[in-house]
Subunit: 658 residues, 2 copies
C-alpha cells in the first residue's frame, strides 16, 4: 500500500513539489532544494531547521497538515525554548497539502543585514559547515579506520562525496569518537575536506576578520553560521616603534638585515594577541575558530606574510604576490584550530592593496550603475572609480599631511587633538572641538571636558577644517598664501601664521597650508586622472573610507577641492570599509570569487607615469573659489557621458572644465 | 615562401610526423608527443634533451638531415662533455628526413633498472618537474607581481595552465628573481603548483624514501629525475628505549600520558637526523629535497604521524587512518625544502601496514598471473597472497621468536650472532657461522674472524637452522621433543637441551623449540588461511621479505614447515621489499595510484575470528617429515584449481592435504 502524496510549498523560496505522507519537513526541503539549515542531520538536537506555517493561494490551513508534536519536539522544548508557531522541521511530517515558511534564521544562506542603512546586506555563503554524524564502533567484523568510518557516515547522512580528511584533524579524531561515544560533529570545508572533529554535538563555528592598518589593527570575531559579530577589538600596530609611517618602516627594512623579520613577528604577535582578546571577550574557545580573512595595505600585507616589502618602497612598485591567498592560519603564527584557514584578499597593485579591495567589496561600485568614487586616505590616497561596467584604481602620493604628520602642530587622531574648527569671518575668533569631548570651546564646560587629556595638537580633519575656514574667512588667499592682518595673524619671517589656540600655542603656519595644498592637489589629481579614463567630469557618488574619511566633513573637503564635483548630499563616509570587506569575505565564499574577479579586471592607472597627473596636480594646488562652500556645484560644466578613446590624452585644464 | 616539410621518426617510441625545415628537434618532439626531457626549455643549458641519429626502414642517413653544430652546441661542449654521436635536441634543427633516437637518459619517464634481476624495473613518473624560465623585469608599464610574472612565463614557455604558487615559495621568489637576474628555475608539482624557486638555472631535485621499522629505520636519498640512489643509511629506531618490540611500546603509551608524544618526537628526530646524514654523504642541500615517501608498520605509522597507537594494540585493531596521506614534510618535523611533501603509503588494516603495501608495490603480485605468497616476518608475520585477479592479506601472531626474542640464547641479528648452523647427523657435532664473518667454525681462521665481536648468541635465522638441523639429525622428534642422547644433549629437569656452543655456553632448549614451533605454526596457519580463501593448496612462488626473509635459508623454512608447498626454486628472499616500495612510490606518481587501488581492493582476512586459523595452527605445530628435506615436494597432493565458495569452512587437516 503506498502512502498518499501531498503538495508542499516552501516560502519564501517558492519551491514546491509533491511528497509522500509521512515525509519529514527537513527531508521534503532537501528533496525540493530548499535552503533549510541543519547541523544534527535531523536528530532533533540542533534546532536549526525550525519552520513555521506559511500561506499561498489555493492552500487551506488545516492544522493537521503537519504532524502533531512528537517525542523529539517535546524533548527539544524541554531543553530549549521554541518560539510560538515554530516547529522542528526534522521532527514533523507532512500529512496534508501545506505551505511551510523557512524563517531567515533557518536558512543556510541567510542575509546579513548590515547595521548602517547605506551598506548593502549580503547573503552568507558558508565555506565551512558543521555536520553531526553517528558512526558504527569498530568490531572484528568491521575494523575500518576511524577516518574511514567518519567519512562514510558523512557521505551517507549528508549527501557528500569524495570527502577527505585534513591532516590536522587526524590527531584528534580517535579521542573525539571515544569521548562522543561514536558520535562526532565534523567541520567540512567546501563539502570536501574535514577540517576538525568534536565529540558529540557541537554547534559553534567561528571566524576572525582582520584589518591590518599601518597605525591600527582591528579584529572582529564572528559566528560563521549566523554572521553575528561576537566581539570587536583594536590595537595600535606595534610596528609603529619601527617607524611612524609606512615608508619609514620600509626604510627600516632596507637598513636592518633583520628588520623585515622583526616587523613580521610583531604584527603576527599582535594579531594573535587580538585573537586572544576577542575569544576572551566572547567567552569562546580558540579551537572553534576555523577561518580568518585579512585585509591590509600592500606593505602590511607583505610584512604579515613574511615577504620583503622593499620593492613596494619605490617604482615600479611590483609586489611579490598580488592574487588572493589561501593559507593555513598557522602560517602566520595564529594559534587557532590547527586546521584554521587564512584568506588574504587580493591586491590591485603594489600600491593599491587588499584594504582597497576590501573597501570595494564592501562598497560595491562594481555592483551598481552609479559612477562611484571611493577614496581611502592614508599615507597614500587609494582611489577607485567606476560602476558595474568598469573600474579604475590609482594611488595618489598625498603624503601623511592628512594624518596630521608634516603639520607644525599636527598629531594623530587621539584624545586631545583638535578635530573641528570654526573661525568667525568677522572677528577671526576660532572655536574648536577636540577628540574626547563633545563640547565646543565657546560652550560651558569645555575646560572640564578636556581636562583629562588637554589640548595637544591638531589632527588631520582639524587641519583641513582650519585651512578651509581660514580660506572662507578670507585669511588664506586662493593661492594658499596667509594674508597679513590683525592680532591672530602672526608674522614669521616672510610668511604669516594663524594663531589657532593660545594655551598651548598652536599655529597654522604657511608651511602647514602648503602641505595641505600638496596633499589635496595629489588627491584631486588622482581622482581626476581616473575621471579622465572614464571620460567624466563629475561623479554620482563619493565615499570616503577609513578613519580620515569618517572624521572629515565633506563640506570642507569640497571647499578645499580635495574631491571632484559631486552632489554634496551624495558625499559620505564609508567607515571602515576595508574591515567590512574582510568580514564579508569571511562569511561568504561567493564574495571571495567576486573580489578576485574584480581585482583581476580593475584597471590600474599609474599616477607616476601619466603626464596628465602632473598637469592636474599643478592645476589643483589653488583653492577653488572664495566664500562659496559649493563652487563646483554652481559652475560645473556637464560633459558628454561617453568617454573619448582611452588613449587620447585630454589636455583640457581643470579651470576650463568648470 | 614556406619552408619544405621533412619526415621525422623518433625511436624508440616510433612516433612520426612531418615538420617544417628549421624546426628544432626538441620542438619536433613536443609536437609529436615524444618523451624528451628538458629543464632549461631549449636554451642549451641543461643538456637533458640529448639525442642521437637512429635508423628506420625507408630513411637514408644523410649527415645534413640535422643542422651542423651551432654556437649553442659548441658553447655547451665547452662546459660539459657530449658523448660521441650525441647532439643537443634544442640546438639542432631538422633539415631533411631523419630518424632521431631518444636515449633512455633523455626520457622524462625513463625506466629505473633495478639491480637485482628478480625485481621488476619501473618507469619514473615524476610528480615534480624543474622548469627554467626567463621573466621580464618589472617596469612602471608592467608592475605585475613577481608571482604573476613567473606564472605567466611558465605558462607561456612550458605549455602549463592554471599554475598556482605554494605559499612556502612566496618568501623566496623575489630574492631568487633578483639573484638570478630575472631568470629562475621553478619546481612544479603535478603541472599545477610551484613548490620552490631557485635563482637562474638549477638542475637538482631530490627525494627521500624511508622505511620506518620497529628495530631499524632505513633511508635513501634519490635524484627524482634520474632515479639514482645518491646515498643510503640506516639507524636503530631510538624508540627501542621505550620497548624492544612493538607491543611493549604500545604498552608504554598506555601507561605513560606523554608516552606517545615522546615516541613520536624521537622517531621524527631520527628521520631528520637520517636526512642530515644522507645529504652530508651525497654533498647536497636539504633545500633541494622536495618529496618524501614513507612506509612503516601500522604502529610506527601512527607514532610517526602523532596518532595514538593504542587501538592497534588490541582487537579490533582499527587504525585511526588507513588511506594514503599527502602532507607537508614539515608536519613530521623534517627540515627539508619548506614545500617538501610527504607521501605515506596506505595501510591494509590495523595490523597489515604501509610496509606490507610497500612490499606489494615492489613485488607486484597484483601485476602477475603467478599465485604469489609474500611473507614479511617481524613481531607479526604479514602475509599477502594472490595474483592479478585478487589479493588477500592477513597478519599472523608469530610473536618475536623469529627475531631471536623469547629464545634462551636469542639476540637480534647483529655481529656475533650465530646465523648459520649445521649438525652432523652421525656425530651431532655442530658447525656454525656468525654474523660479521664469512668463515665456518670448522674452517681455518674462524677464531680470528670473530675476534672483533665474539660469539654472542643466536639470531632468528640461526635458531631456525638449529632446530631444523636438529630435527634432520633426529635429535628433535616430529612433535618437537628433544630426545635424550649423547654428550651434547643435556638433561634439564624433565626436558633436554642441545649444547650448540661451549664457549660461551649456548643451548637450544626445549622452550626454544616450543617457541619456534608456535611461531612457525602461526605463520603457516596464516598462509593456509589465505590459501583456503583462494581455494589452493600450493602456491606458484614464495617471496620472503625483510631482514628475516633475507637471512633465512628457504630449505630450512620448508623443512620446519614455516611456509606452504611450493617449488623450492621459487622460494626466495625479497630483500627490503617495503623500502623498495617507498622508493618506487617516491619516483612514480602512477605507482601511488596503483598502491592506493591495490590497498582498497585487497581482501583482509582476520586470523583472530576465523575458526580455521586455530585449526590450521594446531595442525601445524608438528614438524612435517623426518630426514627428508623436501617432504612437501614428494608428497604434495595437487588439488583442483578452483576454490569452493569462500564462506565454506574447509575442515580438511594439513596432513590430509599432503
Amino acid at each position: 500500500m503506498s502512502l498518499p502524496d501531498h503538495r508542499v510549498v516552501f516560502t519564501p523560496s517558492g519551491r514546491r513539489g509533491v511528497v509522500p505522507a509521512g515525509t519529514t519537513v527537513l527531508e521534503a526541503a532537501r528533496r525540493l532544494g530548499v535552503d533549510l539549515d541543519s547541523v544534527c542531520g535531523g536528530r532533533g538536537i540542533c534546532g536549526r531547521c525550525q519552520v513555521t506555517r506559511g500561506s499561498a493561494p489555493g492552500f487551506g490551513n488545516e492544522t493537521d497538515a503537519l504532524s502533531a508534536p512528537g517525542p523529539t519536539e517535546i524533548d527539544y522544548r524541554g531543553r530549549r525554548p521554541l518560539a510560538p508557531g515554530h516547529r522542528l522541521g526534522c521532527a514533523i511530517t507532512v500529512e496534508g497539502d501545506v505551505v511551510i515558511d523557512v524563517p531567515v534564521e533557518s536558512q543556510i544562506h541567510r542575509q546579513v543585514v548590515r547595521k548602517r542603512p547605506e551598506l548593502a546586506s549580503f547573503p552568507i555563503d558558508p565555506l565551512i559547515r558543521l555536520h553531526y554524524v553517528a558512526v558504527q564502533p569498530p568490531s572484528l567484523a568491521d575494523a575500518r579506520s576511524d577516518v574511514e568510518r567518519v567519512i562514510s557516515a558523512l557521505e551517507a547522512d549528508w549527501d557528500l562525496a569524495d570527502i577527505e580528511f585534513d591532516v590536522t584533524a587526524l590527531a584528534t579524531v580517535h579521542d573525539c569518537l571515544v569521548a562522543g561515544e561514536w558520535a562526532v560533529t565534523a567541520a567540512v570545508h567546501d563539502a570536501k575536506r574535514v577540517l576538525a572533529v568534536w565529540p558529540g554535538f557541537h554547534d559553534t563555528l567561528l571566524g576572525l576578520a582582520f584589518d591590518v592598518g599601518s597605525t591600527t589593527i582591528a579584529g572582529h570575531l564572528l559566528d560563521l553560521a549566523t554572521g553575528d559579530v561576537l566581539a570587536s577589538a583594536g590595537r595600535m600596530n606595534p610596528q609603529i616603534r619601527f617607524g611612524e609611517d609606512l615608508m619609514s618602516r620600509v626604510s627600516h627594512v632596507m637598513m636592518e638585515p633583520e628588520g623585515a623579520a622583526a616587523m613580521t613577528e610583531v604584527v603576527r604577535n599582535a594579531l594573535d594577541e587580538l585573537a586572544g582578546e576577542l575569544v576572551a571577550e566572547a567567552g569562546v574557545a580558540r579551537g572553534d575558530i576555523l577561518d580568518v580573512a585579512v585585509v591590509g595595505n600592500p606593505i602590511m600585507h607583505h610584512l604579515l606574510l613574511g615577504l620583503d616589502p622593499t620593492p613596494l618602497g619605490g617604482a615600479p612598485f611590483a609586489p611579490v604576490v598580488g592574487s588572493s591567498l589561501d593559507l593555513a592560519a598557522s602560517a602566520v603564527d595564529l594559534e587557532l584550530n590547527p586546521a584554521a584557514g587564512l584568506y588574504v584578499l587580493p591586491l590591485v597593485a603594489g600600491h593599491v592593496g587588499a584594504d582597497t579591495m576590501g573597501a570595494v567589496l564592501s562598497e560595491g561600485p562594481h555592483r551598481r550603475d552609479a559612477m562611484q568614487l571611493l577614496v581611502d586616505v592614508g599615507t597614500n590616497a587609494e582611489i577607485v572609480l567606476g560602476n558595474r561596467h568598469r573600474l579604475w584604481a590609482a594611488s595618489s602620493p598625498t603624503g601623511p599631511a592628512f594624518e596630521g604628520a608634516q603639520i607644525s602642530s599636527g598629531q594623530r587622531a587621539t584624545p586631545g587633538a583638535i578635530e573641528r574648527v570654526r573661525i568667525d569671518p568677522v572677528t577671526l575668533e576660532p572655536r574648536i572641538r577636540v577628540i574626547g569631548s563633545e563640547i565646543w570651546s565657546d560652550q560651558d564646560g569645555f575646560d572640564a571636558s578636556v581636562a583629562g587629556h588637554g589640548i595637544t595638537g591638531i589632527c588631520g580633519s582639524g587641519i583641513i577644517e582650519a585651512v578651509a575656514e581660514l580660506f572662507l574667512a578670507g585669511v588664506i588667499a586662493s593661492d594658499g598664501t596667509i594674508r597679513s592682518g590683525p592680532d591672530r595673524i602672526v608674522a614669521e619671517g616672510r610668511t604669516h601664521s594663524f594663531l589657532l589656540w593660545e594655551d598651548p600655542r598652536l599655529l597654522v603656519t604657511q608651511g602647514d597650508v602648503r602641505a595641505i595644498q600638496l596633499a589635496k592637489a595629489a588627491l584631486y589629481a588622482g581622482a581626476r586622472l581616473l575621471m579622465d579614463q572614464a571620460g567624466i567630469d563629475s561623479v554620482d557618488e563619493i565615499r570616503l573610507a577609513g578613519a580620515f574619511g569618517s572624521h572629515i566633513d565633506p563640506k570642507y573637503a569640497m571647499t578645499l577641492g580635495l574631491i571632484p564635483d559631486c552632489d554634496l548630499s551624495r558625499v559620505s563616509a564609508a567607515g571602515n570599509a576595508a574591515g567590512s570587506g574582510a568580514i564579508i569575505a569571511l562569511l561568504s565564499a561567493a564574495s571571495r570569487h567576486e573580489v578576485e574577479e574584480v581585482a583581476r579586471n580593475i584597471e590600474k592607472v599609474e599616477t607616476a607615469t601619466e603626464p596628465r597627473f602632473q598637469e592636474h596636480f599643478v592645476n589643483a594646488m589653488a583653492i577653488p573659489h572664495a566664500r562659496d562652500p559649493y563652487p563646483q556645484l554652481s559652475t560645473a560644466v556637464k560633459l558628454p557621458d561617453r568617454a573619448p578613446p582611452v588613449r587620447r590624452v585630454r589636455r583640457r585644464s581643470r579651470e576650463e572644465s568648470r
